[in-house]
Symmetry: C2
Subunit: 103 residues, 2 copies
DNA sequence: CGCCTCCTTAAGCACTTGCTTATTTAGCAT
DNA sequence: ATGCTAAATAAGCAAGTGCTTAAGGAGGCG
């Protein structure tokens, strides 16, 4: 249980989980993740257009989420196809949808 | 479903959910929330001591989470007893524990 | 009242975030 | 090579974050 950890371990765990939440805790990034859940895989330019971001702004958000391990991509000629990399993130998004978006 | 929303509604929903994630997306605030789940109710000074924060820093984190509707408090003479205000946050924390902290 | 305790709020400051525009890299096609 | 498209990266800047110290409220007790 969480309360059986010493403070250092607790801090470390909390910091890591908070990193994930922080990476998800932005309106545009959350929209990108939702689109990826919906479509499975999308190109960077499609993602940018669908959530109303400029190409560089979108790329920076994707880079941030790559660094945090939330998304990954595969190259297909010029295009990069992005997808959610961590199943736990999909689980989280499913719960968020159920809690905040259902009905 | 999310993908049936128009962009404006999607933005608004995502922004609100992102607000909650952002409020949770900080190591110390996440620790505070965990402690509140664990103990049900705690005073501000107890919270500060348990997560290793100065008293003003802790108060500012609690204010932030109050503004976002995550926590609330009741006064008992000089002491303020804090608790988690939104059952959805407890549900989220339970999933986070299961996904990231179990074993 | 004065004084103490518990807690919040304010002010200041280094650091981070999220956009912009401009530039660069990578791949495909002339 | 040149040119074109898809995407990342860099630089710059306003706004937000998270601490610090210092100053205010709010309630109990002499």
């Amino acid at each position: 249980m969480l309360h059986s950890m010493d403070l250092k371990t607790f801090e470390a765990k909390a910091g890591m989980v908070a990193g994930t939440l922080k990476a998800m805790g932005n309106g545009r990034r959350l929209m990108l993740l939702c689109k990826l859940v919906e479509h499975g895989e999308m190109t960077a330019s499609d993602l940018a257009r669908e959530v109303g971001l400029s190409q560089p702004a979108c790329s920076q958000h994707l880079a941030r989420m790559r660094d945090e391990g939330l998304v990954s991509y595969r190259r297909e000629s010029q295009m990069l196809w992005y997808a959610i990399a961590d199943p736990r993130v999909e689980t989280l998004l499913a719960l968020l949808y159920q809690l905040y978006c259902k009905d």
